[in-house]
């Protein structure tokens, strides 16, 4: 909780620094986020009740995912059709879907985890999962993938895939699933590279951003981001002394590079450490949780924050292809802020349940 608050504060400072005209919006979103946080804390009387409505969550998730594809409410921004129009602004429904997905997986896997992992049949070291029980998860995941292909958002697709793999691993403990999943991701990525122009552009930009045909075109943003990192050095240029505003859309995609330019490698490391601490606290809650559902839920939610951080920081630092995922709590973006605070609220409630069960404060 204090970590998330600290990160949000850093986010507000950075938005003020990088795009001061967006500050008011981000402040309003922060207030809404706090409201959503409070609501999540107060409303569902019993957290385990969430598990009972798992099919509702699944259905709601699919609905939200498909929503941007419909005319009138759907919107395409920066080449990705992942927005729906709400009043004067637009929101990214997939941000909420990631929470619903974890809740659904946690509930479903709690019920069937014994069946899934107690598979008697094996071919050599490879377990053969009992197919019928996997169908709902695979279907849910398949829908997510397909929709993301149509909505052209690589980052969200990768995130969903990661959640799917992580939850499966958490429930069954089969490292084989994870390895198989990563292999599938590589194959899928290769196929997508061959088939879709926007995927190809992303990968090319990642592999050779400094080439003359890219550095002023598709690679411009990344190259400017790398300049910012380089300018940061060990201790940074000092707050306000960098030129991160040279990076296009720095406030949402490249906050990490902006922060690293002004605070240096030391600052970047500290920021990463905060996320690691968040992961540690979240996983600790998961370990102490009394029921399988709560364990899976808390671990899945913490995993989301960690994976998002890794994917966007990796993208900013050219370790992996860049995607439009936000840096949790810090980057500008209302939907992201609100759902991440709801995520924190869910974690706190899970922690509270285990404290109550242990008779602690």
């Amino acid at each position: 909780m204090p970590i998330a608050a600290g990160l949000t504060a850093i986010g507000l400072v950075l938005v003020q620094r990088l795009a001061s005209d967006l500050l008011l919006q981000q402040l309003s979103w922060t207030i809404i986020a706090v409201g959503a946080f409070a609501a999540t804390i107060l409303i569902p009387r019993d957290l385990t009740a969430l598990a009972r409505f798992k099919w509702t969550w699944a259905f709601l998730g699919v609905l939200l995912l498909v929503a941007p594809l419909f005319p009138i409410i759907g919107r395409e921004i920066n080449g990705a059709r992942i927005w729906i129009k709400v009043g004067p602004g637009s929101i990214e429904p997939w941000e909420a879907v990631k929470l619903l997905l974890v809740v659904f997986f946690a509930a479903y896997l709690e019920e069937y985890r014994e069946v899934l992992s107690q598979s008697q049949r094996r071919i050599g070291p490879f377990p053969i999962p009992p197919i019928p029980y996997l169908v709902p998860i695979v279907a849910m995941w398949g829908i997510a993938m397909l929709v993301m292909v149509f909505e052209k958002d690589i980052g969200a697709t990768a995130l969903f895939f990661g959640i799917f793999l992580a939850m499966l691993f958490l429930a069954t403990g089969e490292g084989f699933y994870a390895v198989l999943g990563l292999a599938l991701l590589l194959v899928g990525g290769f196929v997508a590279y061959q088939l879709f122009g926007h995927v190809q552009a992303r990968v090319d930009t990642w592999l050779r951003p400094f080439d003359d045909d890219l550095r002023f075109g598709a690679g411009y943003q990344l190259v400017q981001g790398l300049y910012a990192l380089a300018n940061g050095g060990l201790f940074g240029a000092g707050l306000g002394n960098g030129m991160p505003d040279r990076i296009p859309v720095v406030w949402s995609d490249f906050v990490f590079d902006a922060f690293a330019e002004e605070t240096g490698f030391a600052g970047a490391l500290a920021l990463l450490a905060l996320y690691l601490l968040f992961l540690y606290r979240g996983m600790l809650i998961a370990l102490r949780a009394p029921t399988t559902f709560l364990q899976l839920l808390a671990a899945g939610l913490s995993f989301i924050i960690a994976l998002q951080t890794l994917v966007i920081v990796g993208g900013n630092a050219r370790l992996i292809p860049l995607t439009g995922i936000t840096l949790p709590f810090v980057a500008y973006g209302g939907s992201s802020l609100v759902t991440n605070w709801m995520l924190v609220a869910l974690l706190l409630r899970a922690s509270e349940v285990s404290n109550r069960m242990r008779g602690g404060p």
């Binding site: 985890r113 014994e114 992992s117 107690q118 992580a166 691993f169 958490l170 429930a171 069954t172 403990g173 490292g175 550095r215 190259v223 400017q224 790398l226 300049y227 990192l229 380089a230 300018n231 940061g232 050095g233 060990l234 201790f235 240029a237 000092g238 002394n241 030129m243 040279r246 690293a260 240096g264 490698f265 970047a268 490391l269 990463l272 996320y275 690691l276 992961l279 540690y280 996983m283 998961a286 370990l287 399988t292 364990q295 899976l296 671990a299 995993f303 960690a306 994976l307 951080t309 890794l310 920081v313 990796g314 630092a317 050219r318 370790l319």
Partner: protein, 446 residues
């Protein structure tokens, strides 16, 4: 029984922690290891913005007169340039257009972070200290430039904003980046290859215009500029610039030998220069595999392309006992107090031809300027032996040929080498030679 979830949670957390570690290492690569290289990338806007809030070092000519300076104005420091005709070398530092020329090549030195002074680079990078800026001194000499600027006086009148769009590309550093067919100035390379393969320069060859070695050439002929008929030795060939003589020499020694010497003299390779330079080409395929191409290349046509700088270097090697020097625009980098931080004085590139070959060629090149009926007579300087060669290079059909003069003086111990090219000159090399003489006189103070 399945693994307890707690164990799964622990392994997942561990995996993620490792991923965080890897990411941190990746970030450290960009912020620390690759930092210097990126910080000095000419397209990095920070480098240029730095010139706004602090002065940029001055660029000085040989005598210490400023060519580019930073002056304080109401909205930061503004770069001003003394002589627009030098823009192709000095370049520019602009927030909008980036860096070019010396401004780009010596960008670190001009913000007080020369590579000869790693401590100041380190202090600027990691402690954020702002170093007082020094200056970069170029070998350019104002009085020689004035003599050379006569070649194209209207270039100076172009306004800055037209520079990039103007049809005659005034911002192109023609000396190092312009590519032209060298014409007859290239004959020294053919002659070098011949002399070093044991060819006797006093041996007389029969010249009859038009020339073809045998019927298989069809209607393809090598033409003589003076429609010559008679016996020529090598010094006659240089003095009267006889294409047919050199075509026969080239065919005798063969395309392989000719290609080898062109390569030795640096044709087709990027010159070792502190500013960008063009490579040029021996031929489109890089080899001389047809007799007609060997013949045409021997007198500097065919598919040959060279920069004036490359020609100047070839003649510098001949004047210098066969040793090719390394060219450089800047001569030293100074700190804010005027102390020399770094001397820019690269050693010679190496022995290209033997001292004997160089001596023989020098004698013939003196004949090409001062001998009876010599084409390059316009480059003569009273009281000084000038060695040199004109060239009339055909470029595109229907266009007036480019005029060349490349030479050095004094012939026995040269202190100046010039390469003059007059694009689309009316009388080719005859137009270029007097300009070469003028520049050399200015350099020698005659």
């Amino acid at each position: 029984m399945s693994t307890p979830i707690a164990a799964n949670i622990r392994s997942l957390t561990l995996a993620l922690a490792v991923a965080f570690l890897v990411t941190s290492v990746g970030v450290s690569y960009w912020t620390i290891l690759a930092s210097d290289q990126l910080a000095n990338d000419p397209f990095n806007p920070r480098l240029i913005a730095a010139s706004h809030d602090r002065p940029r070092g001055a660029i000085l000519d040989r005598s210490g007169a400023p060519l580019a300076t930073s002056e304080k104005s109401t909205n930061g420091f503004v770069r001003s340039y003394k002589d627009q005709s030098l823009a192709q070398v000095v370049g520019y530092a602009s927030v909008q257009f980036g860096l070019s020329g010396v401004e780009a090549a010596y960008a670190e030195s001009l913000i007080g972070q020369d590579r000869a002074d790693p401590i100041s680079i380190w202090r600027a990078r990691y402690l954020g200290e702002r170093q007082a800026v020094g200056s970069v001194v170029l070998g350019i000499d104002e009085k020689i430039q004035k003599a050379a600027a006569v070649v194209d006086p209207q270039r100076q009148q172009l306004a800055m904003d037209q520079l990039n769009k103007a049809p005659d590309h005034p911002l192109l550093n023609r000396a190092a980046q312009g590519l032209y067919p060298p014409g007859s100035t290239f004959k020294v390379v053919t002659a070098s290859a011949a002399l070093e393969s044991g060819f006797d320069p006093t041996n007389k060859l029969r010249v009859d215009d038009p020339y073809q070695p045998d019927r298989s050439w069809g209607d393809y002929f090598v033409r003589s500029a003076s429609h010559a008929h008679g016996l020529f030795d090598m010094s006659d060939g240089f003095r009267l610039s006889e294409n047919i003589y050199f075509a026969q020499v080239g065919l005798q020694i063969g395309g392989g030998k000719l290609a080898e010497y062109a390569k030795r003299f640096g044709v087709g390779a990027t010159p070792k220069l502190d500013l960008p330079g063009a490579k040029g080409q021996l031929s489109q395929s890089g080899v001389l595999d047809r007799p007609t191409l060997v013949a045409d290349t021997s007198y500097g046509q065919g598919e040959l392309l060279v920069s004036p700088l490359q020609m100047a270097l070839i003649y510098a090697a001949i004047g210098n006992g066969g040793v090719m020097p390394t060219p450089h625009y800047a001569t030293e980098v100074r700190d804010a107090e005027g102390h020399v931080v770094r001397q820019v004085a690269p050693g010679p590139q190496g022995q290209v031809v033997s001292a004997n070959t160089a001596k023989t060629l020098t004698t013939m090149l003196v004949g090409a300027v001062a001998g009876p009926g010599a084409f390059a007579f316009g480059a003569k300087i009273p009281g000084v032996d000038v060695a040199g060669k004109t060239g009339t290079a055909e470029n595109r059909p229907g266009e007036a040929p480019h005029g060349w003069f490349v030479g050095f003086a004094p012939a026995q111990a040269p202190t100046v080498v010039v390469a003059v090219i007059v694009e689309n000159a009316a009388e080719g090399g005859v137009t270029a030679a007097p300009l070469g003489g003028q520049v050399m006189r200015a350099a020698l103070g005659k």
